[in-house]
Every structure is written in structure tokens, then in C-alpha cells.
């Protein structure tokens, strides 16, 4: 990645390079309880009443509901050891077609992505998953203990977002160090970038083989707690 960004900076890439997916595994990141609750249906405004938008645990107000806090502890205990943290990414030079739309190694024609990738010379394409274990747990609890099921959903979402955040931070730091800029990551399903790009994107990253991500007939990913995204670099 470092090498790629460096070459982007110096303009020594032609765009004909073979695109190679790189596979990584991460250690377990810390759990952010207020984010779990946010994904489980608590409005951010309630959770961050004191913290003013910071992503931090210390000001989470919710544990004043003792029963809920207890249940959240239980859920965190249940889900312990159920996660894997896998990510596959590929770096690619960004081309432009005649109308200025970005040309990527997967086919798309999106105004919103075009805007997001304005001035970008390259992109990092990624897929990440925290595995099928959490889906099994959700499956188990959503019908027999729906509150637990909901909190597990929240936890799965928090886990995979935290994983992608960790990778994104690496990209940001690397870019910063070289005077480049990483744009906010953009995922299929945002704006007018349809989820129908998923098959090409996942194939490019060898996501089935490396990460175990497959798509169903309506382009939804299994494991459900998986994310794909594009990070533009200018």
C-alpha cells in the first residue's frame, strides 16, 4: 500500500499494472459499547448527550438502565471469540472516461462516486468481514430472545465497522505521511452506486476464497457483517 501511494505521488504508475488482492488478518479491536447500542437502535443524540460527538465509551449514558447494561454485558460475553477480522484490499490507478467518470477495475457509472473521487489518482478497494459466527448467534437469538438478537446485530455492525475503521486509519496515516489525501470511504449502496457492482468487486478481491464472502440473489453479502468500500486517494 505504502509503495502504491508513493508511486501515485510520483506519478510513476501507468495504469497497466496487474491488480493484486492483498489479504490481512487483524487482532481484535476494543469494543465500543455506545456504538453497539447505536447500531441496535439508540439514537446517537442520546448516547452522546455528554460527549458531544466523540466516539468514546466514557460518557455513554445508557448504563443507567441497569437491566439493559446487564444484557449488553451478557451479549458481549456471548459473542466473545465468535469473530474473525479479515480484510482483502487492492490498489488501482484511477482512470477517467470521456465524460470524466472514474474508470475502476469494476464496472460502474455513478455520479456520486465520481464526486467522491474528484481529483483522485488512485483508489484502494476493500472487502472486510468479521465472519459467520455472529450470524449464527444472531440466528439463534433473534427469535427466542429478540432483545439479545438485536444487541448482537448491533455488536456485529460495530465490529465490522471498527475493523474497516482500523484499516482506514492506516490508509489515512500513510497518505498523511506522504502529503496525499485519503477521501471518505464509499460503499456500494451509498447514493447512486448500486449494490449490483458487488459481484465484480468481490471477484477482484478474491473475497470468496480469501474471506468467505458470497452474494445471494439480491446481492446481499454473507456473512452479513461484511463491508465493501472504495477509498479514493488524491
Amino acid at each position: 500500500m505504502k509503495e502504491f501511494i508513493e508511486k501515485l505521488r510520483t506519478g510513476s504508475l501507468t495504469g497497466d499494472e496487474r491488480i493484486i488482492p492483498i489479504y490481512c488478518e487483524y487482532d481484535e479491536p476494543d469494543i465500543n459499547r455506545s456504538e453497539v447500542l447505536r447500531y441496535a437502535g439508540f439514537p446517537a443524540s442520546v448516547l452522546r448527550a455528554k460527549g458531544k460527538g466523540k466516539k468514546d465509551d466514557s460518557f455513554c449514558e445508557v448504563p443507567t438502565d441497569e437491566e439493559l447494561a446487564k444484557r449488553l454485558d451478557e451479549v458481549i460475553g456471548l459473542a466473545k471469540g465468535q469473530f474473525i477480522y479479515r480484510l482483502s484490499y487492492a490498489c488501482a490507478v484511477l482512470g477517467r472516461d470521456d465524460e470524466g467518470y472514474p474508470v475502476l477495475p469494476f464496472k460502474q457509472h455513478s455520479d456520486d462516486l465520481k464526486k467522491n473521487l474528484e481529483n483522485c489518482r488512485g483508489v484502494i478497494i476493500l472487502a472486510a468481514t468479521v465472519g459467520a459466527g455472529i450470524d449464527r448467534l444472531i440466528r439463534r437469538y433473534e427469535r427466542t430472545g429478540p432483545a439479545t438478537g438485536l444487541l448482537l446485530q448491533g455488536m456485529g455492525a460495530e465490529r465490522v465497522e471498527t475493523l474497516v475503521d482500523a484499516f482506514n486509519d492506516e490508509v489515512n496515516r500513510t497518505c498523511d505521511a506522504m502529503g496525499m489525501k485519503a477521501h471518505p470511504r464509499y460503499s456500494p449502496g451509498y447514493g447512486d452506486l448500486p449494490i449490483t457492482v458487488q459481484p465484480d468487486l468481490l471477484k477482484l478481491l478474491e473475497a470468496e476464497k480469501r474471506l468467505g464472502i458470497t452474494l445471494n440473489a439480491s446481492y446481499m453479502m454473507s456473512p452479513s457483517k461484511s463491508v465493501t468500500a472504495v477509498i479514493g486517494i488524491s
Binding site: R18, Y23, P43, D65, R140, T144, K209, T214, S218, Y219
Partner: protein, 815 residues
């Protein structure tokens, strides 16, 4: 020469990676490699010949992704035929002197099966079957199923091979660095399932390098009684100046393989990143070794989709509670297809500590084959405990065995010729561990000796079907001592004889022994202890009985089956302070302390203890208090005066944003617990359930597989007493309409999460208007808005569960 004959005394050398070599030859990202069989046959032949030249005994035809999901029938046939033409040319042109075989290569379909994905198991079997038939006709010497990362998908592929050809079949799975398949299976679990279905060799490929697979291979070698294979990557890939580079080179790679061969691996090759150089090195190393003989490990295993349970070393508890016999509430649940209740029974037993769940859903008015399939699938979606399929109907047994993800326990066969001839072929085909009752045409013999004789007869008959005695477990039948006081002695003796004389596992449904006596638990648990001492391997029992669990834990501690008495100490510490003598139920023992608080959240006016428990989401308390209340109050009064008002308080707080979704659901869970007690009480009375509110059909629309929101709405509606009929997710339009018509339901709720499935919702509404014009339609889901709802012609858009309840009440009033 047949590969199985060759394999008996020799190592088998497989080929190496294909993908990377094809990319080097110019295959573009996203291009399907199977098409190269026709467009670039010379490249395929060149690569495959180089593997034969390097010493491969088996080269995989270039058919990894050749399936009917990627190609139409005509192209599929053409590509597979071309693949075999190429591989055979490579074989003919190779200078290698070794025995050479060409395998039909089968990789995953790329669609995850239900319940985690959306693809049907039987559709997967059919898809694989097509590839198998074409490959067999094209002249494959064997079938090689590989890179499978899901056990259910693996079963589908293997079943398709077994049903469509007689070729030898090797099965290889792709493990993660945690040593498990993506969907959770351990190597031992795969061994149990695949050997049960008669795979000829099994093992692992891809994902990792040979050193990272050592643990996985050791587990295979410990359990497998068939040859074990490995086909690892050349380590992990990394990007080096725009080229994929793997970090393990031929010398280290072949050294790692050699070590594994010394441990007993018999079949080896390479996967991603390996080339003919790797294979040559492996073949050279293999030539210096003598193959370790493959032996029968004689382990009695069953499996779920995650793990194995082994019979023999330590006693196994099989939960008996999923069974309608003598249980009114369970019978009602079966008749109403109340699957959640049945699942609840399974999960409660799992929490109580059983290792296997017995599943008996036989009731005269029930379609048992359909029900056992449904319950087995649903149970496997929520618990990873292996199941014991308990039925006397061979049709139901086959349905259960076929759809089961793993190797099931089968209950039961007996010494009757007719029964053995019905059951053993099923076990031979699908795999299984069979409970055999020691009775035959002459009934149940009184003496232990006669029961042992029947056991011997059953062992002999089973062996004719290729079922060895490690896959049998005998139930010498516990008879009630109130009818004959010698009965228990005969059973105890039979357990001893079968276990120690015949060397086969034993199981008992222990509770029968005390039938007709007072305080049955005392007799049953003591009998359990006596039979355990004689070597009983498993008991079908009630895990809610403290006496039984006491015996189980104490026995293990006393028999050196519980290191440092850890399990026992943990069990003892979690026992409630005082267990009343002769208590019937472990679930009933905890008290109701703490439920007396009358302070509602936010200084609300005082509420009753039950209401307090519901509002705060205290499940256990809600159940206990309800049980107490039921002693003096009519069930429906409790609903009207306690439960509904409590739900209203929480519902209102939710609408006013004083509490949020998790808290609403916790309250719903607690009230469900209260309802469960009420239902139990009402099931005792003649009318079975009491009056219900109007029916409400609910479904997630066709194409959409998200049902969390729908499930929440369903739960809250049920709490309010509506007769909810949940059709599940991904429900075809006409199915919704048919149900509404059948019930003449006044209200329908449809959910859609994705914009792509809104048209399916619109179509459902259109059909409803045509065929069920009386029905009111409410819609919801993540993408729904009032505007959308208006546009597709819904009667109402409901933002959340509470709004749906209010609307349903409104509709009901207008009826």
C-alpha cells in the same frame, strides 16, 4: 488401474496451482478459466502436462467453476468435455512413468446455503449433479471436491456425486487460520460427516500454507479411518512490485509435506501459488518414504455443522424434551406449527447441559416427514448441538437425514427384519449413528441374555450394509419396576454385557424405570447411576431434573472424567441454595425476590410486581410471578389486567422516545415468558388456547431476506394477542395471498428492506387487491416511507412495531 487399488499401498501425488499459472499465461481478472478449455487448450495442456511430468498421479481437469450457475447446459457440457480432452492429452504426452489419473474437479457454487444464505440445499444438490453427470460421461477416473468452506455445501456436492456416479470421490475443505471452516465446522466434524457418506479420501486444501495446516491435519489423522489428503497454498500471498508472491518455496514446502506424510498423510499436492517445481519436490520426498497404513480409528462419532460428540469415553446426555408424548403444550405447538416454542425447548436443554437433542415430532394428525425436516433445519439454525432424529417412519427418517447438516444420531432400529431393512440402507447412504433397541418380532425378552442375542443379530445385519458396530448404540430397554421388580436388574446386566462383552456403546431412556411410582426422580436417578457404573454410554433424559444432573456430574468427577473436578465445581456453585427434595423441575426453583419493587422507570405510578418485571425486562421473574398468579387468577384476567397494561406503558414510553428498541424488546421477551406460563395453563383446559384477536398475516417480501424488523413487529403483535401468521422471509407474492384468503385475514403486514424488493411488495399488494379485496395492507421496513407506501397502494405505512399494533387495533375495531 483403479485409483482406490493404487492408493492402498502408495502415496498419491496431486497437482499444484492452476489459477496463478493461467494468469501468467494471460487470463484476465474476472475471465472464467473454464472457457480456456476451448479457447486456449494448448495452455491448459501445457500446464497439466508439466504436472504429470513433475510426478503428479492425479491432475484435476480444469472444471473447478464448471457449474450450471455460471454456464448454460450446452456450454457446460462443451467445457467439461474439452477439459477432459485436454487433461487426457496432457496425460498421453507426459513423459512421467507413474500411474496417472484425471479427476473431475468440483469447487463451491459460490452461493451460501440456507439458513445463512438464500440457496436451497436441494437446488445445490441438483446443480452439482449436472456437473457430475457430464464429468462422469466424459471419462473422469475420480471426482475431487475441493476448497469447500461450508459443511452443508460439501454435503450437497458429495451427495450429488454419490447419487449420480460410481466413481471414487475425494473431498477437501478450506480451513481458516482458526482451524475451522468459514461456517464453523471443525476437522473432526467433517471427518464424521464425510466418512458417514463414504468419501474415499478426505482432507484440506487452499487458504493456508502447509505449516499452518498442521493442527488441522493432526485432527484429521486422529479421527479419520480413510486416507487423508493435503493440498496447501505456497504460504500466504503478498504483493511484490506488482506480482503476487508466496512466501513458502519448494524445499520448505516439500519438507513440511514430508513431515505430514510421516504422520500419516497419504495424498498430497499444492494449491494457490504452487507450481510443477513444488510438486516435483513433493514427489521426490514421497519416494523416500513408506506410506503409513490407514487404520480404522474405531471412534463412535456424531456431528453438527460445527463439532463432534463422541460416544464411549464419557457419558453423553441426550435431551428428551422435544417430544409430544404426554405433553399437551408441546402437542399444541406442533399442531399450530409454533416452531419458536419447539426451538425454545431445544435451547433451554442446551443451556441445561445436554450434548445432543432428541427430536421427535410424531403426532397422528401431523405430516411427520415435513415437520421433522422443518424442525431439524430450524434447530440447526439456532443451535450447534447434534440432533438425534427420533421417528419410526422411514420416510420421515430419510427426510431428516438428508437435510441434516452433519452426521446425525438415528433413533431407532430394532431386531425386526422389516425395520432393519428399512433403516440400514438410509444410514448406509447418509451416514448416521444408530440407536438399536434390543427387541424383535418376539417382543422384548425378559432376560439380559436374550437381549444380548438380539444385539448380536443386529450387529450382523448392520455389517451386511457396511455399517460397523462403532456406528451402533444399543438400548437394552428400561422397563418399569412397578410392573416387575426384576426388570431393572435385567437391564443393568444387559448394559454390562453389551458394553463389555460385545464392546458396543449403550444408551437408555432411563425415566421409564420409575413409571407408576411416587417421587420418580429418586428411582430414575439412582437407576441412572447404577447403569453408568456398568458402562452406559448415553442416556435420553430430562435435563431439568436436578437429581439426574447431580448423578451425571458426580459420576464424571468420581470416574476421573472431570479434570480437577472443574465441571463439578462449576455445576455445584450454580446450584440454587436449596433444592426442595424430590423437585421436578430445575427451571422452577429460582425465587421471585426482587420483583416486589413498585417503582416504575422515571418515577411512574406504582405498578404491580408482574408489570414491573415486564417493564424492566426481567424474563425469569415475569415467568415466576405469572405462575404464582395463575394459582388464584383466571389466565385471561392476568392478560387483561397485568400484561397488556404493562406493555402499554412500555409501548407509550417507546413512542415518546423515553425507551428505545432494545428495551422494548426486553419487555416483549419478559411478557412472552408470562404468556408462555399462561398458555401452558390454558393448554390444560379443553378449548386449548382461549379466544384470540383477529388474524394478522406477516411476511418479508419476495427477494428480501431481512427479517429482523418483521420479527420484532411479529413479537409485539403476538404480545398484544393478535393471531399472527408469520410466513417468514423471501415469500413469493402468491403465497401471501393464499394465506390471507385461507384465513380471511383482515390485515396483512409486508416488510421490505431494500429498494430492489419494493416492486415485489407492490406486486403482492396488487394481487391482494384482486384476490383478497377485504384485507388492509400495512407496509414497513428500512426503505419504506409514506410516499413510497402511497405510491405502491398500501393502506398504511407503519414506522415501527407500536404503530403497527395501533393500526391493527384500529382495523380490528372497524370489523
Amino acid at each position: 488401474m483403479n485409483i482406490l487399488d493404487y492408493m492402498r499401498d502408495n502415496f498419491i501425488i496431486l497437482d499444484g496451482g492452476m489459477g496463478t499459472l493461467l494468469q501468467d499465461a494471460g487470463l484476465k481478472p474476472g475471465e472464467l478459466p473454464e472457457r480456456w478449455n476451448v479457447t486456449h487448450p494448448e495452455e491448459i495442456i501445457r500446464i497439466q502436462k508439466s504436472y504429470f511430468d513433475a510426478g503428479s498421479n492425479v491432475v484435476l481437469a480444469n472444471t473447478f467453476g464448471a457449474n450450471c450457475l455460471k454456464f448454460d447446459d450446452e456450454e457446460l457440457t462443451q467445457l467439461i468435455n474439452a477439459a477432459f480432452d485436454n487433461a487426457r492429452r496432457a496425460k498421453a504426452e507426459s513423459t512421467g512413468k507413474q500411474e496417472k489419473f484425471v479427476a473431475l474437479d468440483i469447487g463451491p457454487l459460490g452461493r451460501l446455503l440456507k439458513p445463512y444464505g438464500d440457496y436451497e440445499f436441494e437446488d445445490a444438490v441438483s446443480a452439482y449433479a449436472k456437473t457430475v453427470r457430464i464429468g462422469a460421461a466424459a471419462g473422469a477416473d475420480l471426482v475431487f471436491i475441493e476448497t469447500m468452506n461450508d459443511s452443508y455445501d460439501t454435503k450437497a456436492a458429495l451427495l450429488a456425486v454419490k447419487e449420480n456416479c460410481d466413481l471414487p470421490v475425494f473431498v477437501s475443505n478450506a480451513y481458516g487460520s482458526d482451524g475451522k471452516l468459514m461456517t464453523g465446522a471443525s476437522p473432526a466434524a467433517m471427518v464424521a460427516m464425510l466418512e458417514g457418506m463414504h468419501a474415499d479420501a478426505i482432507g484440506a486444501n487452499c487458504s493456508l500454507g502447509p505449516d499452518q495446516l498442521i493442527g488441522v491435519m493432526e485432527e484429521y489423522l486422529e479421527y479419520a479411518s480413510v486416507p487423508v489428503l493435503i493440498k496447501p497454498n505456497a504460504g500466504l500471498p503478498r504483493d511484490e512490485g506488482g506480482k503476487t508472491v508466496y512466501d513458502v518455496y519448494p524445499p520448505e514446502f516439500s519438507e513440511a509435506i514430508k513431515k505430514l506424510m510421516e504422520k500419516g498423510v497419504r495424498i498430497a499436492g499444492g494449491c494457490c501459488g504452487t507450481t510443477p517445481d513444488y510438486i516435483k519436490a513433493v514427489a521426490e520426498k514421497a519416494a523416500t518414504l513408506k506410506p503409513v497404513p490407514v487404520t480404522d480409528k474405531n471412534r463412535s462419532l456424531i456431528s453438527s455443522y460445527t463439532h463432534v460428540v463422541e460416544f464411549g469415553p464419557s457419558p453423553i446426555l441426550i435431551g428428551e424434551r422435544i417430544n409430544p408424548t404426554g405433553k399437551k403444550r408441546f402437542q399444541q405447538a406442533l399442531r399450530e406449527s409454533d416452531i419458536d416454542y419447539i426451538l425454545g425447548e431445544g435451547l433451554k436443554q442446551a443451556d441445561a447441559g445436554v450434548q445432543v437433542l432428541d427430536v421427535n415430532v410424531g403426532l397422528p394428525e401431523i405430516d411427520e416427514p415435513a415437520m421433522i425436516e422443518r424442525v431439524a433445519k430450524e434447530l440447526q439454525a439456532v443451535t450447534d448441538l447434534p440432533l438425534q432424529l427420533d421417528t419410526s417412519d422411514p420416510v420421515a427418517m430419510e427426510r431428516g437425514l438428508r437435510c441434516y447438516n452433519g452426521k446425525a444420531m438415528v433413533n431407532s432400529v430394532n431386531g425386526k427384519e422389516e425395520v432393519m431393512e428399512a433403516v440400514f440402507p438410509l444410514v448406509a447412504k447418509y451416514g448416521g449413528f444408530v440407536v438399536a433397541l434390543t427387541l424383535d418380532e418376539g417382543g422384548i425378552p425378559e432376560s439380559a441374555k436374550e437381549r444380548v442375542r438380539i444385539a448380536e443379530k443386529i450387529i450382523k445385519k448392520a455389517s451386511e450394509y457396511g455399517i460397523s458396530k462403532k456406528n451402533l448404540i444399543f438400548d437394552p430397554l428400561a422397563m418399569t419396576i412397578s410392573a416387575d421388580t426384576k426388570a431393572a436388574l435385567a437391564t443393568i446386566e444387559a448394559v454390562h454385557e453389551i458394553r463389555h462383552g460385545l464392546g458396543v456403546n449403550t444408551s437408555l431412556g432411563v425415566s421409564n424405570v420409575s413409571f407408576g411410582l411416587p417421587s420418580r426422580n429418586i428411582i430414575t436417578s439412582t437407576f441412572f447411576a447404577l447403569t453408568l457404573e456398568q458402562g452406559l454410554s448415553a442416556a435420553i433424559m430430562n435435563p431439568y431434573s436436578y437429581e439426574m444432573m447431580n448423578v451425571y456430574h458426580a459420576f464424571k468427577a468420581l470416574h476421573d472424567l472431570d479434570a480437577n473436578c472443574t465441571e463439578y465445581i462449576e455445576y455445584a456453585q450454580n446450584l440454587p441454595a436449596q433444592v426442595p427434595a424430590g423437585s421436578q423441575s430445575a427451571g422452577a426453583a429460582s425465587g421471585t425476590q426482587g420483583a416486589g419493587s413498585t417503582q416504575g422507570p422515571g418515577g411512574k405510578p406504582a405498578v404491580s410486581p408482574l408489570q414491573n418485571a415486564i417493564i424492566r425486562g426481567l424474563k425469569e421473574q415475569a415467568g415466576n410471578i405469572t405462575r404464582e398468579l395463575l394459582k388464584e387468577n383466571a389466565p385471561l384476567d392476568i392478560v387483561q389486567q397485568e400484561v397488556i397494561p404493562a406493555l402499554d406503558i412500555v409501548g407509550k414510553d417507546f413512542e415518546e422516545k423515553k425507551v428505545y428498541l432494545p428495551q422494548l424488546l426486553m419487555a416483549a421477551e419478559a411478557s412472552k415468558e408470562a404468556f408462555e406460563e399462561i398458555k401452558k395453563e390454558m393448554a390444560k383446559s379443553a378449548d386449548g388456547g382461549g379466544p384470540k384477536r383477529c388474524s394478522f398475516v406477516i411476511a418479508t417480501v419476495h427477494g428480501d431476506i431481512h427479517d429482523i424488523g418483521k420479527n420484532i413487529v411479529k413479537l409485539i403483535l403476538e404480545n398484544y394477542g393478535f393471531d399472527v401468521h408469520d410466513l417468514g422471509k423471501d415469500v413469493p407474492e402468491q403465497t401471501v395471498v393464499d394465506k390471507v384468503v385461507e384465513l380471511h385475514a383482515p390485515i396483512v403486514g409486508l416488510s421490505a428492506l431494500m429498494t430492489t424488493t419494493v416492486p415485489a411488495m407492490e406486486e403482492t399488494i396488487r394481487l391482494l387487491r384482486e384476490q383478497a379485496p377485504w384485507a388492509k395492507v400495512t407496509v414497513g421496513g428500512a426503505v419504506m416511507t409514506q410516499e413510497y407506501a402511497d405510491r405502491i397502494g398500501a393502506d398504511k405505512y407503519c414506522r415501527d412495531a407500536m404503530e403497527t399494533v395501533r393500526y391493527a387495533e384500529e382495523v380490528e375495531k372497524s370489523l
